[in-house]
Amino acid sequence: MKKLIMICIAIVTVVTIYSCKKDYVIGGSLYNPKVDMTTYDYLKTKKLFDTLIIMVDRMGLKDEVNASGTVFALTNYAISNYVKEKQAHLRIKLNDENLVFTFDSLKLPELKDSLRAYLFKDRLPVEALSEVGKLRKSNDGEFRLIQAIPTTDYTDPNIFPVKPKYVYLTKIVKKEDGTGTIPTDSTQLPLVDPEQLLQARVQTSGIITNTGVIHVVNNNHTFTFFGDIKN
């Protein structure tokens, strides 16, 4: 009798454990941040970055992109925003409301350093970033503040104790009245007034390629932060 019970329990246990093994997910796949390509090749496979690829090619930055630990990738929209802002700016500046300015009008070699401000030597996956953030030196020598800031926009913090994080690439500028200091290392960050921070949010973070990490800057960003008029 005792033996029978033990056998029964054993069967039930085995069945219970194995019955869970079948996954009930239909379609989709487990999240895998890794792609088996170089950063440049990966960007080339996505239509969203074809303008960026044109810029990289013409500026001869392909090797530098692949040598960078972290790339903040600009979508076509972010570059298009720049062209639009530039046109509006030039129309006012040259007092010609019919002035036409397109992507072809850009002098790409002059913008090389502006694009290099989005490339970083260090490898910065999301796990390496904090809410306070650190100032990091980009390839053109400018400093950028890089943070991963938790948000409650889409989750109720009472239900999900771990908040999702947005990665931000932030340019620090002077205040509108010209005051305020631009820090050169992370210890000076507490002196910065929040008004000085021009934030660009990352829409897709932590794509890991064979050569580095890609964070995709959101579509509403304007290349070089040109949309922020007092910048």
Binding site: T152, P157, Y166, E195, R201, D228
Partner: protein, 488 residues
Amino acid sequence: MKIHFKKHITGLLLLILVISAVACKRILDLEPHNSTFTGAYFTNGQDANSAISGAYSSLRRVLLNNYSWHVYGDAPSGEFSIRSDRDNQNYNISNGEFTGLNVGSGNWNWQSYYQLLQQVNLIINKVPGIAIEKFTNQDDKKRIIGEAYFLRAFTYFYMSRIWGDVPLRLEPDLDINQAKNIPRTPAAEVLAQCIKDLELAKANLVFGYSDENQRAVRANKGSALALEAHIKAWTGDYAGSEIASDDVIKNGGYALSDSTDYSKVFIGKSLEGIFEINISYGQSEGISLNGGGYAPTLRRPYVANKADIQWPVNTSYINKIYKDTTDIRYKTFFFQAQSSEGQTIKFSNVTYADGSAKNDPRLSNNLIIFRLADIYLLRAEALNKLGRDGEAVILLNAIRKRAKVADYAGGGTALGTTILEERLRELYFEGQSYYDMVRTKTLSTYNERFKDQFMNGTPEGGWLWPIDPGMFKDDFTLTQTPYWQGRL
């Protein structure tokens, strides 16, 4: 044994019979406990006081629901570059597409306004019948009646600015079965009734507050006069508006706050406040931004953990209006106004209910409906229209002085434009700008999307809102707003 059992059963049945016969009477009350429709209610001062509190709370709900105070008064004025991807409904509204995608019943339906009006009409109907001895504080009776007339005038004026003609209902429906449908009453008639109500409100109310806690959040004579000045200016009676606003300024006991205390005006109950809706975390009435509250003009660092801003400022509008670099309002009202995520921080008094974790933000700013600066500038507008530029400039410069902007010296239409733009600067995001533009017939200058549908502010224009077709099924007397006929 069997006999015993039978006895038990009979006894039990008898018991049940007796209990059920007696019980019914007590369980089923013949009169509803909390009915406001029978003589059971409105018998003493306590009832009258809770009824008027209920009316204020309905008004609060109506103005906060769907963010309507700012959606009607600010969104279509061009103050904001509302993001279509984050708030598509109000993006469409800001382009004058009052029937656009996602714009709907919540914006068109006025039923909740009539719930408020029913409450107010009940007070007007019943409170005069309560004997004065039944009030603990005998001044309350007159005051409550006066406040009810004020609330009725305010509600109809507010509705008429949104929809134009609205059904004018002045008696409470005491019996729901006999409630009648009323067609839309012409706007002029509705507004004339508002002025009549305000005469009664003024007769029953006094200036000042005996209880400082009620400052501005309960209507007084000053609130009634401010409303009168607004209604008369709206109908083009600038002479009447001038007299009413003069009375507010001279006798209301209000004072402009100092430049340094500017931001306190927007927290509420300041000496400048004439009428406000109470929103105070200290009184457990803050707006929970996680619990359905909306703060579309704010994000980090003003609301920690909020990454998105739905209503960034319209930078070109700001640069057109705020030209003066010394203007302290630019710094006080805005944060990073030159960026694509410019925040309006007038109403940014956020407290976190969970302390340093900062996951539960509560907004604690009163909704400012009328304040002294608004009445100063309204009077200046009236004086300018009446050709009394000299007096108008004094009022205008009082506001400019506080904002640290140089005095203005000029007259005629140029002065008129300056006064309007001073209003747009001073009252940015206070639910006034759209109506200021409509009243002065300048809407299409500031928001060119209205070029075709504004029709110079006539009742045929598309600056008025359509009404919810859903309301037609219960009421065959209703008709659609002229501009929107056939467009819905």
